[in-house]
């Protein structure tokens, strides 16, 4: 009995990382995914911010799930999420200002990230605290993993650097962690790249490159998922949409047309 419970808790955590990866499988939070993945560090920073907000809001919402009247649960969730987002925003501003500048408007916009409201509505509002926390952590880690993958690729191809600016995140742990490691500039390590006039493909860190990279990554995950007998990732359908209960679109349209 106990073991079974442990297993199911473990599942709450792992499902968000691969099987129900919020970005690549559920196609949620696309705005942030596309916008901040111009470098690995930005993706990681955004991911960490989302993990904090997601876990905290999931825990609080799960604790309050019996106290919040059903009628006003969406606005109540929004207030809780917005409060945590603002707290994260203030902490980032105080301790990692570089990240605040890099993420810009997308830091406050975590409020409307569908993943967070979606998890509140689909999971935390109905499940006990520990399971909700693990669910949030798993989803957050899955989100971060997807962002880091995209950021790593776009940065490598688009600016010819790897993990550039990582020290700004590491500086939370002290000065000059890992000997002040601040990423690798391929053009410094391999000077012959310049001689061959091999320039980085700037297009990949431009908006257009974001769409392209995401499309290719999605094709790869779809292929992998199909190999395992899973469905292809579809545009978010109503099951994932936190606003589904308020939505009055025609049913036949509703099937394909999803969240805002």
């Amino acid at each position: 009995m106990k073991k079974q419970k442990k297993n199911s808790l473990c599942k709450e955590f792992t499902k968000g990382i691969i099987k129900q990866n919020p970005v690549l499988r559920l196609v949620l939070g696309t705005c942030a995914t596309l916008a901040v993945t111009t470098s690995f560090v930005n993706g990681l920073g955004m991911g960490l911010a989302v993990i904090v907000v997601l876990v905290c809001s999931n825990v609080v919402i799960s604790l309050l799930r019996k106290a919040i009247p059903n009628k006003v649960r969406i606005p109540a969730y929004v207030i809780v999420i917005a409060a945590f987002v603002t707290i994260v925003q203030m902490i980032v501003k105080a301790y990692v200002p570089v990240l605040d500048e890099a993420l810009g408007i997308f830091l406050p916009l975590i409020v409307v990230n569908c993943i967070i409201l979606g998890r509140a509505e689909a999971f935390a509002g109905k499940n006990p605290v520990l399971a909700s926390a693990l669910d949030g952590l798993g989803m957050g880690v899955g989100f971060t993993a997807a962002l880091c993958t995209m950021g790593l690729f776009r940065e490598l191809v688009g600016s010819g650097t790897i993990l550039s600016g990582i020290q700004s995140l590491l500086s939370i742990f002290g000065d000059n962690v890992f000997g002040g490691f601040n990423g690798i500039d391929l053009y410094e390590v391999f000077p012959w790249l310049e001689k061959l006039s091999l320039q980085p493909i700037t297009l990949f860190i431009l908006p257009s490159g974001g769409f392209f990279t995401f499309g290719v990554l999605m094709a790869i995950t779809n292929r992998l998922a199909e190999g395992k007998g899973e469905k292809k990732a579809e545009l978010p359908d109503c099951a994932a949409c936190p606003m589904a209960s308020a939505c009055r679109m025609k049913p036949e349209e509703q099937h394909k047309e999803g969240t805002a």
């Binding site: 925003q89 409307v112 999605m218 094709a219 545009l235 805002a260």
Partner: protein, 196 residues
């Protein structure tokens, strides 16, 4: 005057909300399958953007004057949510035709990052009231332009043979990449007209 034209052109072309700022991607991918739904969604977004900006501007002044700027995010999202709810109720009761056309999209707009995004951007950029309103209009029109253009692109995609592994979402995203790339071609327009 020059600045207002610059704001309009930026919102529509060079700094398009969807194609360059990545705000409102979910409806862009989700509701752009048919031209009429794309147009309906765009109209609803423009309407809500203008209204939220008009309401949030004085509220923000109040917050800033009372050293409460840290409450911006929470207040803005609540104002937008309440506004959308109120609008839906009023429309449903008194404007049946308009409700049929726009109302069904309203609940989806609450969590649309483009609406909250434009309100926060107006504050961050320190625009005054007329500038904020023009910027919101431009952002909304840009959103609409991208939605409607992309609905056309997707219509063409439907009738083509697509490699199996790219079918569905991947090819849609690659098409969006091409539309975004084509908008890059406008980047000289503001400078060429000497507007900024």
């Amino acid at each position: 005057m020059k600045f207002y034209i610059a704001l309009l052109l930026m919102g529509l072309l060079t700094q398009n909300f969807i194609l360059s700022k990545f705000l409102g991607i979910c409806p862009f991918l989700g509701v752009s399958k048919k031209l009429n739904t794309a147009a309906g969604m765009s109209a609803a977004v423009i309407f809500v953007m203008l209204l939220s900006t008009a309401v949030c501007y004085p509220i923000n002044l109040f917050l800033e004057n009372h050293d409460l700027a840290y409450l911006q995010t929470i207040v803005f999202i609540l104002v937008i949510a309440a506004l959308v709810q109120f609008l839906e109720t009023v429309m449903k009761k008194y404007m049946k035709a308009l409700y049929q056309a726009l109302g069904i999209y309203l609940p989806l707009i609450t969590t649309n990052c483009a609406v909250l995004g434009v309100v926060i951007l107006n504050v961050d950029n320190g625009y005054n009231f007329p500038q904020s309103m023009v910027n919101s209009l431009a952002a909304g029109l840009g959103f609409g332009l991208a939605m409607i253009l992309f609905a056309g692109v997707r219509g063409r995609l439907e009738n083509n043979d697509i490699p199996k592994f790219m079918e569905g979402l991947p090819v849609t995203l690659v098409a969006a990449a091409l539309v975004s790339l084509s908008f890059l071609g406008f980047s000289g327009i503001i400078e060429g007209m000497g507007l900024l």
